[in-house]
Symmetry: C2
Subunit: 232 residues, 2 copies
Amino acid sequence: MRGVEIPEIRNIPLFEGMEDESFDLMLKSSYFQRFPPQVQLITEGDPPDFLHIVVDGAVELFAHSNNRETTLAILRPVATFILAAVLKDAVYLMSARTLEPSHVLMIPSENIRAAMVRDHRFSRQIVIELANCYRGVVRAQKSLKLRTGVERLANFLIRIDARGAGDGKVRLLEDKKKLAGLLGMTPENLSRAFGTLKKYGVEVDGNDITLTNLEDLKGLAKPNPLIDDRSI
Amino acid sequence: MRGVEIPEIRNIPLFEGMEDESFDLMLKSSYFQRFPPQVQLITEGDPPDFLHIVVDGAVELFAHSNNRETTLAILRPVATFILAAVLKDAVYLMSARTLEPSHVLMIPSENIRAAMVRDHRFSRQIVIELANCYRGVVRAQKSLKLRTGVERLANFLIRIDARGAGDGKVRLLEDKKKLAGLLGMTPENLSRAFGTLKKYGVEVDGNDITLTNLEDLKGLAKPNPLIDDRSI
DNA sequence: CGACGATTTGAATAGGATCAATGGGAGTGG
DNA sequence: CCACTCCCATTGATCCTATTCAAATCGTCG
């Protein structure tokens, strides 16, 4: 596949500043593929053949142990996954499946490593991307260990409102089952958490949420930039 | 400070393969310092001036929110910390304090970034180190979300036994309060968890633990290489 | 000896999970 | 268009895990 012809790919921040030639070389034997929902893209324990990049749609990262399953993240464009496994050439620690019809770019691991040697700027971008992934997991862990379920939900709502128009009108992109997993609780519990938040001005109508009293909600949630602000 | 003269530092795997000159340049304006226990080395929210490397002793990574505190990791030699913040030049997400008298190498962030541009091999090592850190947090999160407190403790014991002689004689290096925090539970709960594990052949004598029935213990713990095996 | 902190134990509570049952669309096929 | 089915979401009841509060014990260090 040749990449320079597809602006959707060429303009991904990760590739900013790469030479066209270098870029095209890297995209050799890559795939840019559409998947329907619920397709498992990778499986934990497998060795990494490709770096994956979600260009459109949504991908869930999850893991199993003891017959239990947990959602570790839900990725939306543009996001890479399993970068660490690719760089280390070590088996995946997580599995991934599409949640929606998705468009995924897959670049052979070997090409990534070669491009990093060839192209300093790209290497730098990869390092930044990996550092961002790391900080994302650290944030998630802080949230899990320092907050109750209700607090996590409240902060989640505040965060996506701020990322959107900030007018208190919020739309959940994933179904509540997945959201529950992401927030580290059961669906039943999420339902009750929404119930608890009613007193703080959270109105639920299916996947449309309205925050009518952001002050009160923040009073409960106690948002913390070192957990919630993804831009730092 | 000059580094080539201190084998303890020169032989850190992270610096393997670096040119002496390059290495010495990097260690310019670095500090190799001893700290007593309970010294706070960095504070979350502060900008990163130095990459820190624990060469001797033990360092706890922890974080605050809502008046609550949680232990995120306990580092023992040789380990880096806050690497991601240094590479991104972004504020720390965690604080760090010494738990024991410790010897810490501190290298100016700027020097790290410069050395990465100058020295490919070093750059590669840094990337691997960062990827390892990432995978460490992912493992921790899987453990938290997929296991109960008792299971986490059981796996912890199995793991440190395997890392040691594997003869069932295990010594806890940290006090039980810290261990509890690390495992995501309260000290009271850890105490009860040890009580629960008695039936599985776990005998406790202060900080000396004996595992008399590894089979039973593993039956309960269900160890999983994708969580517990840090070498992959 | 006395004080202090760490650890353990007990009792009460809270937070979250599980099990069960119901309501509510969306999609399917007649 | 309607009946049917299926899955998601909600609600209730109950159970279990883990936290909190309180108290007792133990060991160490001055």
